[in-house]
């Protein structure tokens, strides 16, 4: 067991914490057992030709733990190592964990913090994402719940965004962002008129946790602290895990309806106004309690879908 040294779990900022600190703060104290830990030194075989430093766990921590006594499997990405990106080993650890979840019937918590595929290992990373998505669907079809937690510095971008879209529940904080193309990629490809990547307010309105929660792209909105994430994860474990035609037909209707309702919207604030949220322009500055109050009964949900 690795000692991590969490000074004050109660107020640990999820955004500021390392992946290891998040895991330690999330699960029941001392319950985490890591699979292929750093001492195994299973590092990336591909960074050397780019003269890039490796990390012992390749930026992905996987293992088992308990959450209020329930056995869970846990995966956490280190967003500060290579942007939390998916490489061959990083991805394979998560693929294996999800396949194990299917075999064992244990629910999974994925602590996302990723910019997407690691370019230096692009093909391996992209393939890993394809394998992870398949493994999630197979596990969910067997009744396993896969719960995503998003609130780190790298956000949940690229292929990570697609994996998140495959989860049964998504818990997000204001700091979290979910998107396929990142702001810089959109700007580089389509111009600054299409997306000014330096406009942070625009980034958060378009891709950030509050918007995703309001539009039904995330299910639970929490404060940026480990206790809030932990409580939300515990609650999510009580959901019934379903994945079948009924669920996807509901998802189809939900996504079609979203396009009908908001397909012409120019900005997130227009969508929030359309939802009937009071004072839509203030949403980005609202504290969590106020935000949740204003969001209640107005936000789109995905309760029977996803």
């Amino acid at each position: 067991m690795n000692a991590v040294g969490v000074a004050n779990t109660l107020s640990l900022s999820w955004y500021e914490a390392s992946a290891r600190q998040r895991v330690a703060a999330l699960v029941d104290s001392g319950s985490f057992v890591e699979f292929i830990g750093p001492e195994q030194r299973e590092m990336s075989p591909h960074l050397g030709i780019f003269d890039l430093p490796e990390q012992f766990d390749d930026g992905m921590i996987v293992g088992q733990a308990t959450l209020r006594g329930r056995a869970v499997l846990v995966a956490a990405q280190e967003g500060r190592f290579m942007g939390g990106s998916f490489g061959e080993v990083h991805g394979a650890k998560l693929t294996g964990l999800l396949r194990a979840a299917h075999t064992l019937g244990h629910d999974v918590l994925i602590l996302f913090d990723t910019g997407g595929v690691r370019l230096q290992e692009a093909n391996a990373g992209e393939l890993a994402i394809g394998e992870i998505i398949r493994a999630i669907v197979e596990a969910r079809a067997a009744g396993v719940k896969v719960i995503g937690l998003i609130g780190g510095r790298a956000g949940c971008y690229g292929g990570g965004g697609l994996i998140a879209g495959t989860c049964s529940t998504l818990i997000v904080s204001e700091q979290g962002r979910i998107s396929v193309s990142g702001p810089e990629v959109i700007e580089t490809n389509k111009g600054v008129e299409e997306f000014d990547s330096r406009d942070r307010a625009l980034v958060w309105r378009t891709m950030g946790g509050k918007h995703r929660y309001l539009i039904g792209g995330a299910d639970v909105f929490v404060d940026d602290n480990a206790t809030a994430f932990r409580n939300a994860a515990i609650a999510a474990l009580d959901d019934v895990g379903r994945f079948d035609l009924t669920v996807l037909e509901a998802e189809q209707l939900r996504l079609e309806r979203r396009l009908r309702r908001f397909g012409e919207a120019r900005d997130a604030a227009d969508i929030w106004a359309s939802l009937g949220v009071t004072g839509p322009a203030e949403v980005p500055t609202l504290a969590t309690e106020d935000f949740l109050r204003r969001a209640a009964d107005k936000r789109e949900t995905a309760d029977d879908a996803r």
Binding site: F35, A124, L162, S181, L245
Partner: protein, 241 residues
């Protein structure tokens, strides 16, 4: 090969496949009887929220009909649509939904075959090609995670440097050969032989669980992935609480 020629070679006995706004739908008749649903993207179109929800809806109609008929996904796309609107509306959910729908179809008895005949990149590649049970390609197909110039920009290395490094490893550069070596592509079909026959031969092969990591190891493109995944499964199974 042009799409019309591909369809003619796949379905010499007939098909009703049409293309509207670069989205492919329809059905084809197989040699020796039977049919196959046909879906896909043409014209190197980028995959946005509207396209994804339309294709997914079609897949779910097929699942609902429950005819057990296989699904062929023809792919000539670019990447996901890069736009403010698509991200605002939650593109990740739409692409994930398309992937989930294809995977559900397969689980419900519809064999899914991806046939990559043109481009496919990034999020579109994940949501279509990589979400099929078996992915084959025609020579000349050009899948990519990211194009080399963009990669050069992001990694801050020159294209020449990237190309030189790409000689030593199939793990990052775009291209059919590299993606085949890493295990993504089951086989590259012969454009000079009947595609109908090659499709029938493929459908006759028993479907397998996801063996792409094993394939990547055997072909030398991904030497660690399968072993790492297997080890995690073994460790998780051994240490049951």
């Amino acid at each position: 090969m042009m799409l019309a020629d591909i369809l003619a070679s796949l379905f010499p006995t007939g098909h009703d496949v049409t293309v509207t706004d670069d989205l492919i739908t329809g059905k084809g008749t197989l040699r020796g009887g039977g049919s196959i649903h046909v879906l896909g993207i043409a014209g190197e179109k980028d995959l946005g929220v509207d396209d994804a929800v339309l294709l997914a809806g079609r897949v779910l109609q097929i699942v609902k009909a429950g005819d057990g008929v296989p699904i062929l996904v023809l792919i000539d796309s670019s990447s996901q649509r890069m736009s403010r609107r698509d991200e605002l509306l939650g593109l990740s959910e739409y692409l994930a939904h398309l992937a989930k729908s294809l995977l559900l179809a397969e689980a419900q008895g519809h064999r899914t075959i991806g046939l990559l005949y043109g481009g496919s990149a990034a999020g579109a590649f994940i949501a279509t090609a990589l979400a099929t049970g078996t992915l084959v390609a025609l020579p000349g197909a050009h899948p990519a995670v990211m194009d080399l110039p963009s990669m050069a920009r992001v990694t801050k290395l020159s294209i020449d440097v990237l190309k030189a490094k790409a000689e030593a490893t199939p793990v990052f550069a775009p291209g059919l050969e590299n993606l085949a070596q890493t295990g993504a592509i089951h086989a590259v079909w012969d454009a000079d032989r009947s595609l109908a026959e090659q499709l029938l031969a493929l459908l006759a092969e028993p479907p397998e669980h996801d063996t792409r990591d094993r394939l990547g190891a055997d072909r030398g493109g991904r030497l660690k992935a399968v072993a790492i995944a297997q080890r995690v499964v073994a460790l998780a199974s051994a240490s049951r609480a």
